[in-house]
Symmetry: D2
Subunit: 336 residues, 4 copies
């Protein structure tokens, strides 16, 4: 940690910072520059140390040197491979999760499961509890939806990925699902992160639309810290000034996170664009960017979907998308 | 709702949209322009109607006409005044909530309560459960903290405002607190919104740092919809490209929301700037912008605060801030 | 254009809007809804019409129906192919522009030109006038730099792409360069756009870091409107809250613009990420997203480059990048 | 400057960085931490030094310590007061610039000048060259407009503030205007900044909608560096995800810049909100935030204005706004 003093900070202020640093069991090192004095604090700086020094008299700002997360850091570990039934994510095979935004009925989910499996998906998505912006929108079939997902899994062998919205729902969702999804709106719902961390189910953690990489990795850290190592990070688009797409999908997230963490990275081109017409091209681009997985909204008739139709593709379009992505995957020596 | 067809959309596609509109119990009205056909759908368009039409063949886009929220709308009601003990918000007197980021101990909270009350605050803030970005940061004194807040209230008469982080905590927090605060990270935690909506305690709902005005008002709608009318909206800064402040504090939120909703608007200059040196000036600006309340982080020694010290002001600075805000309030015919 | 009246707008206000619409030679069409009246204005709505109606009494907002640009619109034309010597952009072959941020000397530019040509580039970039954030940074070799670029072209046959910063420089830059580049900071320098529009040199127009798609296409419209049809649009990253990359590179721009315009789309992964380590992966992703061209910063020794070294790759890395992109291009039936 | 090495950087890499630092006439200081080595470089770090070190082998990142601007820095000077006729900006009196978006004719500008002067403005704004997003919008009366502005000045004594769009227009604009305005789109048009820096006319420099504080101050530095010290900085709103206002107006810019620079700060609530209904409230808030000046769009009939009508207020509303701002100014011991 580097503490930058204000121009003209007094010797008293400098001494005070040095004392604070040493009281935190860090070593201090004062460097007197031509215009400013800076003080280096050496040792494990994680925790609340930074904030304490920032408010000390004469301090201009504090620059952290170490990443605030540990367990998510790539330095510590081999790449993590997440597995759920035949679904794999993090090795050379790209895992594909496909299905409707919402579970609408047993026949619907079964038909979709069969369709996406035939095209090469290894996991089935489908919302049972739906976090909706408006209280007047469809809120999901809840436990009935979970049962339908489980039936579709039994029929097809696809791993079931579904969202869990609250800590108290974790047990019931974990009973039916193979992968617990934490939605973008809940990326910093720390009690939920901890509850998922207590299970041994794989977790798909979606990036909040305004979350930085540090916040995203610290959210993962909450799960890892409870002993659950099966975490996938999902880029689903961020909120920017752009208005021609629902969100802005920043694919540089993929190679950047591959440098920083051992966890696999999944991309969601459906939410990331919010436009069915862009999903296929952006899926190819995500594969080329090195994504370890894709999650896609697929429905036999998007016009009749109970939610998210505008960003949902047909089963037919999904088949075509998979064929295209397969070629791109091969071009970078991976499979899908 | 206005449905804009693509250039060259077929008569078949137009007819199909008309049928869909009418099957939703709306009236349709086809307008053939020089380059495009547009179709007006007349009636109550709220719900999932928009999404359904957006995906229909030949449709370019759908433009909603009505606001998606109802109960929060100003059209429906007189201005809401929120009351908790002597704290009032929404009338000519500006309500001031002040206190530490975290409750750290009984003496600490009592000393602060006395200090801020003497300077004119009518409510006391203080976190018992703390949502923290890092799992390695202090997470709050939890129920012990609630008891300390209640003791400080008993000693001073200040209303207690404290954050509730999960639906299952609502009963215990409601037992001790006068106002339930929903944090920015939980603005779209719908189960929590509903749980707070089931109580009859006033709610302080913070804007998510990437939430639009519509999303913010729809979050309030979740609470109102459960029968709790005592809702305050709190602007606490948004995430933008700016890096010299922790968040960007968009004060135009205040007059804009005053046009759209009957709910009172509180401003949080502490989180909104993230810098103690800017808090006082931005409090004055918030009052001039018409804020109905202020919420401020105050601590006897920010350097020793267990959290958020960099944006916390001293009790002395708070006294000075109140004196300055009082003059600005008078200049716009209000009191504080 | 759809004019949405405020709730309770008077008949007088409605009549006034109708009169204004008709005085603009548009047809009006009044639709009385359950909560609001909306008025459709039919005809060519481009120009200042929208603003005039927006301020009329009783008007809530005005929703445009037609895109504000005409000549850039895909509806009007076949895809444009831009050509300069062997460089082509807009057909199945992806055009690659490579070279240093700044021209530093005759030998430097010649060595780079030979290196990038050997790896498959068909155009050479290099700044002679450099727009720099700080007045204390290197500002370019100016006309001397142009001569060095021309010499490198003569030696290699590569087309020369270089930035023009002001209308009065257009003649001299056009004398030496094959393609005029308009930088991101100048995307809305309308006098410069017009001056480039008066030439018959191809133009590479970079997107401003806060420009919407409409603003970008309207900037192109300024050039097209003066009779120059050889325009390439370049996505080079936008400014968002993200801080781990210098800009956020939104690749969905590529398929989105392909839907809207006949102009070819170039991607700049060097500026788009600001990190050399991410350039190669994002180049592959750009190709997979359908980019018609790439522009890349290449230097024999990025550490010794006079500008932008942190986002510049070596000639060797460029060779490897081209080999990787070639495979991805083939996977989508294109060449590079 | 602090150079943070990657974990496990070799001694060779560390030595290389030390050599580079010393070759730049800076002193180096190596600090070996528990997980990382950091190297302090002591001395005047401005210029291209940072970029060079960032690309050296083994370097993770470079943290600058000193601000990159010098002449704009508050440390160096007393507060600057800008003066043009009776207009003053930077002392206890708040300078008010008011007038139409575009000069439309001699009578129009004269009537407005008289109206705003009567209400207390000391300067007149009005565009002669108009940078417009669309080539199909009104582009200004150009030199004729300048003459009309000068005539209005002669009749009223108001200082004339008008935009200059290109370096070659500087002489003619400087002939008629009292203050040269550099528009937001041209904030980084460095040749224009330098040309204005060569004059001795006061300059009103608008913040680009995606510019950071450093970029803004460095743009001012381009003007100051040429010897023109009469520079005002104008906050006119930034581009964010917010869509209910045209831009987001971040008033914390005012106290923040007051800490960093001696230059006066003007706020533009017209562009900053893009909505006439919000202009008056945000003007009051700007005054409370400590703005040294206001610039406002005023027109006798906004509905008939040739540009920007939706954010323009009437002369009557301007009079009311001034009365309100006067009271707020007094509450913070200033006048207007």
């Amino acid at each position: 940690m580097i503490i930058v003093m204000k121009p003209g900070a007094s010797q008293l202020a400098i001494n005070h910072v040095v004392e604070r640093i040493e009281s935190m069991n860090l070593k201090s090192h004062v460097i007197v520059g031509t215009e400013r004095t800076v003080i280096a604090a050496i040792g494990d700086e994680r925790g609340k140390v930074k904030e304490e020094l920032e408010t000390a008299d004469g301090v201009d700002r504090v620059l952290p040197i170490l990443a605030p997360y540990k367990m998510a850091s790539r330095e510590l570990r081999e790449r993590t491979i997440v597995r759920a039934r035949d679904f794999e994510c993090g090795n050379s095979k790209i895992g594909v999760i496909a299905g409707p935004c919402s579970v609408e009925g047993e026949e619907q989910i079964l038909a979709i499961a069969r369709g996406v499996k035939a095209a090469g998906a290894t996991a089935l998505r489908g919302g049972a509890w739906k976090p909706r912006t408006s209280p007047y929108s469809f809120q999901g079939l809840k436990q009935e939806g979970l049962k339908m997902l489980a039936a579709a899994r039994d029929a097809t062998g696809l791993a079931v990925v579904t969202e869990v919205m609250a800590p108290e729902h974790v047990p019931v969702v974990a009973e039916y699902a193979d992968v617990l999804q934490i939605g973008a709106r809940n990326m910093q719902n720390y009690l939920l992160l901890q509850a998922c961390g207590e299970t041994r189910k794989p977790v798909l953690l979606k990036r909040g639309p305004a979350a930085t990489m540090e916040e995203f990795l610290l959210a993962a850290e909450y799960i890892l810290d409870r002993g659950n190592q099966q975490v996938m990070l999902c880029e689903r688009g961020i909120r920017t000034f752009e208005e021609h797409t629902r969100f802005t999908l920043p694919l540089a997230t993929v190679p950047f996170l591959h440098e920083k963490t051992h966890l696999p990275i999944v991309v969601d081109p459906s939410h990331g664009t919010g436009k069915a017409a862009l999903v296929s091209t952006m899926s190819r681009a995500a594969v080329a960017a090195g994504a370890d997985g894709l999650i896609l909204e697929v429905h036999p008739s998007p016009e009749n979907a109970w939610s998210d139709g505008y960003q949902t593709i047909t089963i037919e379009a999904f088949g075509k998308l998979m064929a295209e992505c397969r070629r791109v995957a091969e071009a970078i020596d991976r499979t899908i």
